[in-house]
Structure formats: structure tokens, C-alpha cells
């Protein structure tokens, strides 16, 4: 019985340790304020405002997000698991993460999760408004 309790205690301690490490990593990622690089030209293709949606194969929220973005400018999807270098360069940690980029590939907005995209779409209508809002949001993000 004592040995069994020790094994269970060790497992529970491992769960707690994993959870703490996981939370620390998420906080570190959230507070990462390194400069964001420009998106490659082939993704933005010279459009005034391009939505770049980072997805994963079993992200159920990604499809609806892409659908809702249709009509708000060009939408490009990137499977983060197939292009891990690009995902890492933009510090993608969950899907969907949506970047709003200008013609030069500069990122003006970053939206993590379907709710963030919905909230944003409800506040901007024209491309110029979207870009202005995105810029102010990006500034708030830091």
C-alpha cells in the first residue's frame, strides 16, 4: 500500500510540475515582445490588407474563421504543422491565430482565437478602417 501511494504521489507531482511548466511557458510566450518580422511576399501578394490565418489540421474553429473573413479582403491559410519555421517566426502557439498584414508584409494586427477575430470584424468595416484599427490594436499589443 505504501509503495502504491508513493507511485500515485509521484504521478500527481509530475502532473502538477507539467502544469506549472506549461503555464510558465504560456506566460513567457504572452510577454514576448521581440519585433515581429515581415510576412513573405508570396503570402501577401501586394494586397492592401491580407488576412493570414495560421491553422492546424484538427483546429475546428479555423474553418469558420476563414469563412467569416471571406469578403473582408484576401485570406491566406497556413498550416502551422506543415510550415513550422514560419509559425515559429511569428510565434504561433495556438490555432487559429490570424495576422493582418499590409502589402509590404508588415503585420498590423494579431488575433488569437475565433472570438478575437469576431470581435474585431464587428468593429471595422472598410479596409482602411480595418488597417487603422489593426494598427492601434497592434500598438496596444506592443
Amino acid at each position: 500500500m505504501t509503495l502504491r501511494l508513493l507511485i500515485v504521489a509521484a504521478l500527481l507531482a509530475a502532473f502538477v510540475a507539467f502544469r506549472i511548466a506549461y503555464d510558465r511557458r504560456r506566460r513567457r510566450i504572452a510577454s514576448d515582445d521581440r519585433p515581429v518580422p515581415r510576412l513573405p511576399g508570396h503570402l501577401v501578394d501586394g494586397a492592401e490588407a491580407t488576412w493570414v490565418v495560421f491553422t492546424t489540421p484538427y483546429c475546428a474553429s479555423c474553418g469558420p474563421v476563414v469563412d467569416r473573413l471571406q469578403g473582408h479582403g484576401p485570406v491566406i491559410t497556413v498550416d502551422a504543422t506543415r510550415d513550422p519555421d514560419l509559425a515559429e517566426a511569428f510565434r504561433i502557439r495556438s490555432a487559429p491565430t490570424v495576422l493582418l498584414a499590409d502589402a509590404a508584409g508588415a503585420v498590423h494586427g494579431r488575433f488569437v482565437g475565433a472570438a478575437a477575430v469576431d470581435a474585431y470584424l464587428q468593429t471595422g468595416s472598410s479596409a482602411s478602417e480595418r488597417r487603422g484599427l489593426a494598427r492601434s490594436r497592434a500598438e496596444r499589443i506592443g
Partner: protein
């Protein structure tokens, strides 16, 4: 979209995994071996027939989910069902080991399931789901995205 492909609230499988972890660890401490085949059946129901048939998935959907806010994320139901199927295989093997008198082997197999389920419940890192992703990609399965 077929019911089996409808995106699900990811918190349901995590609740299921949490219950499974507690039950298996409790069973291990008390040497209650019946817990292992019982939870093999619990996992099998959810994996084979969908969340509505998994007792704890249904408990989550009917009693817990209504008290929570809407889910931040939805997920494809197939990876967690695959993970549950892997759990069924391990727990069935553990049951066979118990029946054959290999109690240590039986509990070792059950503890593997408890450890992976506990990891998924605590962090959302689901090893079985990642395995599904590897197989799905090799077979060219289109996931719900």
C-alpha cells in the same frame, strides 16, 4: 455535417480524462482491479459511438457544460476518440493481464493510461490525439478545420 464529425467542446474529453485518471489511480491504491475493465467499457462507449454514449462525456455535456461559459475553442472529435480507443486497447490488455495473474503488468498498463490521461487533463497535451494526427496525415484524412 455528420454527427461524428461535428466539432466538440474540447473541455468534455478533458473532463473524461480527469475522471479516468482519478479512477485508475484510486483503483491502483486500493488494488480495485474491477476499475480497469469498467473504464475500458466507459472509454469504448465514447470512442465507438460518440460523446453522447460516453457516461462521463454525457455527464459533462448535461450537468457541467451548462454551468460554464461557451467554449473558447472547438476541436475535431476524431483525435480524442482515437486517443480513447488507444486507452481501450491498453485497459483491455491490462484486464487480460489481471485474468492471467500478471497483476504487476496489468497495473503497469493501467498506469500508462492514467499518466497519459492525467497529462491531457492537466495541460491539454493529448498524446493519443497527436498519434491520430500522424496517422491521418499519412492516410490523407481531411480533418474538420
Amino acid at each position: 455535417m455528420a454527427d461524428s464529425l461535428r466539432p466538440i467542446d474540447a473541455r468534455g474529453p478533458r473532463f473524461n480524462q480527469g475522471v479516468l485518471t482519478v479512477a485508475l489511480l484510486g483503483g491502483f491504491v486500493a488494488d480495485a482491479r474491477l476499475v480497469v475493465p469498467a473504464f475500458a467499457v466507459v472509454l469504448l462507449l465514447g470512442a465507438a459511438f460518440g460523446p453522447r454514449y460516453g457516461p462521463f462525456l454525457r455527464l459533462y455535456a448535461e450537468a457541467i457544460k451548462p454551468r460554464l461559459g461557451p467554449p473558447a475553442e472547438l476541436e475535431d472529435p476524431r483525435p480524442p476518440r482515437f486517443a480513447a480507443a488507444v486507452g481501450v486497447v491498453f485497459l483491455t490488455a491490462a484486464t487480460v493481464a489481471f485474468a492471467a495473474g500478471a497483476v504487476g503488468v496489468g497495473w503497469a498498463l493501467a498506469l500508462v493510461v492514467a499518466a497519459l490521461a492525467g497529462l491531457a487533463a492537466a495541460t491539454g497535451i493529448c498524446v493519443g490525439c497527436e498519434l491520430y494526427l500522424v496517422f491521418a496525415r499519412r492516410r490523407g484524412v481531411e480533418l474538420v478545420a
